[in-house]
């Protein structure tokens, strides 16, 4: 196993020198205001001046007009033009990780020592919807128009498969919300910090049968930022023993992807080519684990995209924490609860945050960083030294980041 305490493996690693978040909530303020708070918090955490940042990678927000499309430059301008290079990354729910990836690649290429990655959003109430106008060649427009297929529709299709294949019930999934709500109680950045009982979950309104309101994450305003540096820079600047990024996976699906993905109206056809060894979500996790040189058994914790409670169970299997069909047992045995073998979503997950698309993958990395530093007060995973984040979004996007210490 390549991961050793004290960072004896340095190849392909960058330092996470600082992390920062603006709390998640719903205030409708300009997204830039949240991003500046997160950026400044991360820079302060790193002890690095904004004027020393050489590269800014922004996670794009598509709901805030032009400034959102060029988020990297928008944040750079808001913090004060410094001549730094910028990039803006859009990868749906994986945007923040793609931004981390572009900063990381630049550092590993030796083109940059210090990078700032920022993602921020301010979001509408209710379902995420396409921008106005008529676009009959845009599948994201068409899936709403032709089928009324919201994002929860897709989550519910997957959830019903779990009932059919594994005999799970909504009572099983309710325990994911109960667990995550408890985890989030101690998280100052969480939007929802309140225990939730299984009864409350099962009494909440049915949204996309079989998923109820409290089984599905909401959308939120929020911002997160990380400061990445080369290992040499971290050493020169007295950042002792930083958390390091050991892997970033942003793979696309492999043909034929035989499970239906958002926002498509059809799967790939398996008529002429056999399905790949791993379907999409499994492949996202596998690529990160392989790059980091570890297996799922080496993980201290995981932050997964619980867009729905049932999807969190899918993730346990996709990561390889257990075999297919065994995720509910892992949950009920307490393995993925704080204090258990491999806590999942010690932050409280999307269940306690809601989704702020361009910020969320960065927020996952912030949590893993705090955990590995021993700074996750009130929700600390004991002896955390390897953490994995994972998520998935529309149009073949997904990501996984592995951090080590």
């Amino acid at each position: 196993m390549e991961v050793e305490a004290g960072g004896t493996v340095s190849a392909g690693r960058v330092a996470i020198a600082g992390v920062g978040m603006h709390p998640w909530g719903k205030w409708g303020k300009n997204f830039v205001s949240y991003g500046v708070v997160a950026a400044r918090t991360a820079l302060k955490d790193a002890g690095i001046a904004w004027s020393d940042v050489q590269f800014v990678a922004g996670g794009e927000t598509v709901r805030n007009g032009y400034p959102g499309y060029v988020a990297g430059a928008t944040f750079a301008q808001a913090l004060g033009w410094s001549g730094a290079r910028v990039a803006t990354n859009y990868a749906a729910c994986a945007s923040g990780a793609q931004a981390i990836d572009s900063a990381r690649a630049r550092i590993l290429a030796g083109l940059c020592d210090v990078a700032l990655v920022v993602g921020s959003d301010t979001t509408p109430m209710g379902f995420l919807a396409p921008s106005g106008g008529e676009r009959r060649t845009d599948l994201d427009w068409l899936r709403f128009r032709l089928v009324g297929a919201t994002n929860p529709t897709y989550f519910a299709l997957y959830a019903r498969r779990r009932m059919e294949l594994y005999g799970e019930t909504e009572a099983d999934w309710a325990q994911v919300k109960v667990k995550n709500a408890k985890h989030g109680l101690a998280n100052p950045n969480a939007r929802y910090r309140k225990e939730v009982s299984a009864d409350e979950v099962l009494a909440s309104a049915m949204v996309s049968d079989p998923l109820r309101l409290l089984q599905i994450c909401t959308t939120s305003d929020g911002a997160a930022a990380v400061v990445l540096t080369s290992l040499e820079y971290a050493k020169r600047h007295g950042i002792a023993d930083p958390v390091k990024v050991a892997a970033v996976s942003t793979v696309t699906p492999t043909f034929p992807q035989t499970a239906i993905e958002m926002p498509y109206l059809s799967t790939d056809s398996a008529a002429s080519v056999a399905p790949p060894e791993r379907l999409f979500r499994d492949a996202i996790a596998h690529a990160a684990l392989e790059e980091a040189g570890i297996g799922p058994e080496d993980l201290s914790l995981a932050e997964v995209y619980d867009l729905s409670t049932a999807l969190e169970l899918d993730w346990y299997e996709n990561i390889g924490l257990c075999k297919e069909g065994e995720a509910a047992r892992l949950l009920h045995d307490g393995d993925t609860t704080l204090g258990g073998r491999v806590p999942v979503n010690p932050s409280g997950g999307l269940a306690c945050f809601g989704e702020a698309v361009p910020a969320q993958a960065i927020a996952q990395v912030c949590e893993v960083t705090w955990q590995l530093r021993g700074q996750a007060e009130g929700r600390q995973v004991a002896n955390a030294n390897v953490g994995l984040t994972i998520n998935q979004g529309l149009f073949g996007h997904g990501s996984s980041v592995i951090c080590v210490r």
Binding site: T150, M206, S208, F255, P256, I260, S272, V273
Partner: protein, 142 residues
């Protein structure tokens, strides 16, 4: 004057008495695709430059999964007023090995829906009262 009902998108399904979905098929490797607008064969290892053929797809398949939605989807989705819950089914076509989403036809009891039952294509207005037609799935039955 109300417009005559017409497909919400052209070329994706027929509107005759026995409607069919129209997909694309690669003449070189036999891969199918739906919707039929593809820019190249979706099989990444197929090097053929031949144009994909438009072919009718099987009009029956089995439910892979389904949901019942209890809230109106936002625009551009169409929703009746007052809102009525609606079902969406993902149906697997056996020969083409495609799983295709579609609303479930009007006047189908949600209790009738189960994973594995056979469904067939029908063409209807997206919601009652609109002139935009779309394919939907309906249980095959007596």
């Amino acid at each position: 004057m109300p417009e005559a009902p017409a497909p919400a998108v052209d070329g994706w399904f027929t509107t005759d008495a026995e409607p069919q979905l129209i997909g694309a098929r690669c003449p070189a490797c036999g891969t199918f695709a739906f919707p039929p607008e593809v820019f190249a064969c979706p099989n990444p290892r197929c090097e053929s430059e031949a144009e994909l053929e438009r072919v009718p797809l099987s009009s029956r398949g089995r439910i892979w999964s389904f949901v019942v939605n209890h809230y109106a989807a936002p625009p551009p989705a169409l929703s009746p007023d007052p809102f009525e819950p609606y079902a969406v089914a993902a149906v697997e076509l056996a020969e083409e090995r495609l799983v295709i989403l579609g609303r479930v036809a009007e006047d189908v009891s949600f209790d009738a829906l189960k994973i594995g039952i056979e469904m067939e294509i029908v063409v209807e207005p997206i919601i009652p009262g609109t002139d935009e037609l779309v394919w939907k799935w309906k249980p095959v039955g007596p």
